[in-house]
Amino acid sequence: MIKIHCLSKHFGNIAAVCGISFEVKKGEVFGLLGENGAGKTTTLRMLATMLRPTSGTATMAGWDIVKEPQKVRSSIGILFGGETGLYDRLTCEENIAYFGELNDMSRAQIKERIKELAKVFNMEEYLTRRAGKLSKGMKQKVAFARAIVHDPKIMLLDEPTSGLDVSAIRDVHEFIASCRKEGKTVIFSSHSMSEVEKLCDRVGIIHKGNLVEVGNIDEIKSRYGNQSLEDIFIKLVGDRSER
């Protein structure tokens, strides 16, 4: 579903991502682990076609991110950072519908889909209220609904739990689980080991723009003598930092 091939991004002289390659199969939840500034956000932004790669490319659901960015965008849904990024002056319904319209859904489709999502996320009560007047938890649910209104095949989540409280984190985890259930392919970045261990099928560890390890969590653990993921991470990242 996602094939990344020698993807690089340079900002001036700084190499944020240096030729990473990996694949994510359909229906898989892939965790991108790395410290702050490791290149996770830049990678996800390139996959979301917000940034143009300096070299290399990737295909998302069969579309090339450089050659067919529009088609890529219509097959992805994103949730970036802990902020929900809703339009405060629009109602929840309008927020979701706007993204549906932008993704070329018909009015009838949007209406139907909002009804469905409202049930799933239990937000029927506040659907017609302005987003600015809602609690953080409510907003987050609207943001989930907005991200998947057009039923994308791929979800990109960039540190979706950063800055959230315990129950909000739980909601995000449930959301990721539900995406998996629906057969969506998910890449999500995090610096929390437990989160990645709990949710992901496979992980990639990224450090200073390089992918230093990739594979099934159990495989990786056995490769490193059954250490905890955290120990493995520190070993990999520490090793590289010393070089």
Partner: protein, 405 residues
Amino acid sequence: MNASKHVWIVFKKEVKDIVRDKKTLLTSIFVPMLLIPILSMLVGGSIEDLSRDINENVTIALTQESNTDEIRDIVENQIIKDYPNISLIDTDDPIKAINESKVRVVLDFEKDYASKLAEGKPFAIKLIYDKSQTKSQGSLGILWNAIGDYNDRIVKQRLDSLGVNPEILTPAMIEESNIANEEKTSGSILAVSLPMMLVVLMASGGIAAATDLVAGEKERNTFEPLLTTKPGRSSLLLGKYLAVTLFSFVSVVATMIGAIIGFVIDPSSMGMGVGTDITGFSIQPLAFFMVIVISITLGMTFSGLQIALSSYAKSFKEAQTYMSFLMIIVMIPAFATMLMQPNDIPVYMFLVPVMNTLSAFKIVLGGSINYAYLLMALGSSVVYVVITLCLAATLFKKENVILRS
């Protein structure tokens, strides 16, 4: 096809979003609507009051030395006899009275005025006034006239007694004839204030929207999700650009409505207190149409610039700072051309941004229409629209500009 649909979706959403913002509504509709009526009431009203006051309540006094019955008699029964608006006041300290604004002008007659008058020699009347007081200074002219009339009467008496016809003193009579047609005279006050106000309003009308639609989105983290939706950046940009353009005109239309309402309620108030009559004002339809098109292109130029600045800004605050700079830059040509007469506008001004629109307005409202100049203004305006839109598009597509915060 899809792209234009996306532009429309973005435009619709942005307009809805802005309309729900009370702040924006206040600054782009209500304030402009009240601007002209309030301005003309305050400025016009106070100018009118002042000029009426200067003309009507002219108080004068005599210095102590001149305060004799004979002089009082000359002043009251000869000099100010035909001037009911001038009144002679008794005061012990005339200079203090001027300082306290109780008296506008104090008259001091020369000591031996009586003998000189009898001998037919000139004598001096000193007019003491305070130049720092508008009313005192304004009253001076009225006294000049009154004393002039007094002089004329004395001269006439003297010539009569000599048996000479006073007409020999006026070899040439002056007659004035105004060749400006009704359009020119009635339009001139409009030609001064209207274009400037329009340009400033257009520049300010889109500011709130432009700041909100890019810099605001960046700050509220709504921009990244938007960039990952299907439409290309050009569609997003155009939708936002059109929304900003719409709002720069909303202010203009609101101002015009305000002006019309003000005019309907009190036509004289629109003359800004200078007594200009703007009724019966008419201009050629084609010229009027061209000026409207030129001002629309100026509005679009402002929107392009504002979207570009808003894209470039790292934060909402930074965008606001850039916008206020833009306003100052716009004010310069607006004030520079304010007092320029329609006939005196140099040709190059029809090519300079902002000035071209102001100049086009002036020649049309001032009634000296020149279509070649109007075409120059229109052509150059279109070029500026293209340049600013390209600038906005370039910045909007630059990832290091659009994704920084």
